[in-house]
């Protein structure tokens, strides 16, 4: 177990190092002078010199990388070319919106996937199963930004039930927070739910075939107890893994859905950084996404090894 843990953590550190090099390179791969490009028509020599000095762009590349990495490790991601504010601050501002959407979407996804996957596993190769399989296949094929537009058209513009866009902080107004969250969370959750349904189905099918399920049935436990306590609980172990990966994906910002709902999250921030050629901001956001993804994956893998000791052997 310890050996597995060390190996897995070591692997992540190596990948993280690679990620940092890749993200650092972004600003150096841009053809031309990134600061000049970012300033565009608002160019003036003093701002230019200040930004170049702050980003350390006159140093040798290796020195730049070491400084950049050192700063990043202490939480300093540089200064935005556009607003002159610290990148870390800009990112932290956007975190609540992204966290709200990610967790909201995961809840919706599980509400869809667990019942649908379980029902189709209990009646494999029935009409219900085929419909559920097709629905989940359709779910991953729908462009989420299109679903978002259609949802806005139906539920906010036509029926007028929910607001069409914007994010309201939980602490400002919990009711409005929830009302604004419903549509984006349902849109994003539908797509994630489609992915999860397939996993719930296959792992429930597996649990149904296990000896302990047969034993539980043979000793005369009611069907409800067999399914709830023996099948579902065991089936959910691999589902937790996939839910974790989905969560990592959602935390990294569902970029385009955020744009459609004018949701002030991280994904939208990253896109804004691309549009305004704000490279330090883009680097900060991309680095954070990759770290999120790696950390969540690592935690999920380790948890999985704890739950199922066969993995670490």
């Amino acid at each position: 177990m310890t050996r597995y843990l060390l190996r897995r953590v070591g692997q992540s550190v190596v990948v993280l190092f690679g990620v940092s090099v890749a993200v650092f390179s972004i600003i150096h791969l841009v053809p031309g002078d990134p600061v000049r490009l970012a300033l565009g028509t608002r160019f003036d020599q003093r701002t230019y010199d200040a930004l170049v000095a702050r980003a350390g762009l006159d140093d040798p590349v290796l020195v730049q990388y070491v400084n950049w990495l050192g700063n990043a490790l202490t939480g300093d991601l540089g200064v935005s070319f556009r607003s002159g504010r610290p990148v870390t601050e800009l990112i932290l501002e956007r975190l609540p919106a992204t966290l709200s959407l990610a967790f909201g979407a995961i809840v919706v996804a599980l509400l869809i996937a667990v019942p649908l996957g379980l029902v189709s596993a209990l009646r494999p190769r029935s009409a219900v199963d085929y419909v559920a399989t097709f629905v989940s296949q359709a779910g991953i094929s729908i462009p989420d930004f299109w679903l978002a537009i259609v949802a806005i058209l139906v539920f906010s513009l036509t029926l007028g039930w929910l607001p069409s866009s914007g994010y309201v902080g939980l602490t400002e107004d919990p009711v409005e927070w929830a009302r604004h969250l419903v549509l984006p969370a349902v849109v994003v959750g539908t797509v994630s739910g489609a992915v999860l349904t397939r996993f719930v189905r296959s792992s429930a099918l597996e649990a149904l075939g296990e000896d302990y399920t047969r034993t539980a049935r043979a000793k005369g436990l009611p069907r409800r107890v067999v399914i709830g306590r023996h099948v579902l609980r065991n089936a959910l172990v691999p589902v937790v893994t996939v839910t974790g990966i989905q969560l990592a994906y959602l935390l990294s910002g569902v970029v385009i859905v955020e744009v459609v709902f004018a949701w002030q999250g991280l994904g939208q921030l990253a896109l804004q950084a691309v549009e305004t050629r704000d490279y330090p901001l883009l680097q900060g956001a991309v680095l954070l996404f990759a770290v999120f993804f790696l950390v969540v994956n690592l935690v999920v893998d380790l948890l999985y090894a704890v739950v199922d000791p066969r993995i670490s052997r």
Partner: protein, 310 residues
């Protein structure tokens, strides 16, 4: 990346399931696909879209940018079955003409990922050792970025446009091809016919291309179909945010973005291009799953790969 990825997904069997005889294999495969009614329907849909993409303008009732200022934002009618947009252009014609750029970007992007990924996976799996470590760790790094964000970052460096979108999406999907190929190569390289080829003095290049590659084809074919689905989705997404195909060329993602601004007055502008994307992506996913059932039942399905698409 995850515990699930590490489970040996049966490429061991893949090699043997794929018929070595190409001609019989291809015909048998088509027959197997057509037996599955859903897959047959998906193939028909794809065939229609390919025809539309090839014929494009010749099929469209109006020109790609034919403007009729008297017919702005007209609802669907006999004259304009999908309505008209804010400039009075026929939406049906633009959906038909938009098939070509949308499919082309996805196709070329997957082509790039396929070639780069298969070469890298083949070399890594065949030589093992340091080459393997270096190549696969690089793939892990690429894999650590959420797909759409990596594409956006590549486009931030290289600039807007359809060509850069192809490169960006190609980079994003290279690691998955490398992984799938390497996993299969690892099992095939230990088999008797590879050792036999080596013992009669065949060179590495010959063994890789003549003996290993044909036997790892099955999972790669499946991955290609699934990747086409996601690549077309990614192209639409990039064009939607204005980074991909540039106006006035009609691409489905671009049309959706235009339609979004007029959603209250002209729902048809956004609904029809979206349906076109949905139909193509769904067809590729269904085909991919059917191919997997026929070629390599233990490989992960489209949906399971989607779990890692973030």
């Amino acid at each position: 990346m995850t515990a699930l990825d590490d489970t040996p997904a049966g490429p061991a069997e893949a090699g043997q399931v794929a018929a070595p005889d190409e001609a019989v294999g291809a015909r048998g495969l088509l027959r197997a696909l057509l037996r599955n009614r859903l897959a047959a329907a998906a193939l028909v849909v794809l065939a229609i879209f390919v025809v539309v993409a090839v014929l494009g303008e010749r099929l469209a009732p109006y020109g790609r940018n034919e403007v009729s200022s008297a017919d702005k934002l007209r609802a669907p009618s006999l004259e304009h079955p999908f309505g008209t947009d804010q400039l009075g252009r026929d939406v049906l014609s633009r959906v038909l003409i938009g098939a070509e750029p949308s499919l082309r970007v996805g196709l070329v992007a997957v082509g790039i990922a396929l070639v780069a990924g298969v070469v890298l996976g083949l070399v890594a799996g065949y030589y093992r050792g340091l080459v393997d470590d270096v190549v696969m760790r690089c793939m892990d790094v690429l894999f650590a970025f959420p797909a759409i964000l990596l594409a956006i970052a590549v486009m931030a460096i290289r600039g807007r446009g359809a060509t850069n979108a192809m490169i960006a999406i190609g980079v994003v999907y290279t690691p998955i091809f490398a992984r799938v190929t390497r996993a299969s190569v690892l099992t095939v390289r230990e088999q008797v016919f590879v050792r036999a080829a080596r013992s009669i003095g065949a060179g590495d290049l010959r063994i890789m291309t003549r003996h290993v590659l044909p036997n790892v084809a099955a999972p790669i074919i499946v991955q290609t179909s699934i990747s086409l689905a996601f690549a077309i989705l990614a192209e639409a997404a990039l064009s939607f945010i204005g980074l991909g195909t540039q106006p006035p060329e009609p691409s489905w993602g671009r049309m959706l973005a235009d339609g979004r601004g007029f959603i209250q007055d002209a729902w048809w502008m956004a609904v029809f291009p979206g349906l076109a994307i949905f139909a193509v992506v769904l067809s590729f996913n269904v085909t991919g799953d059917a191919l997997r059932d026929a070629l390599d039942p233990r490989q992960r399905s489209a949906i399971e790969s989607a779990a890692g698409r973030g």
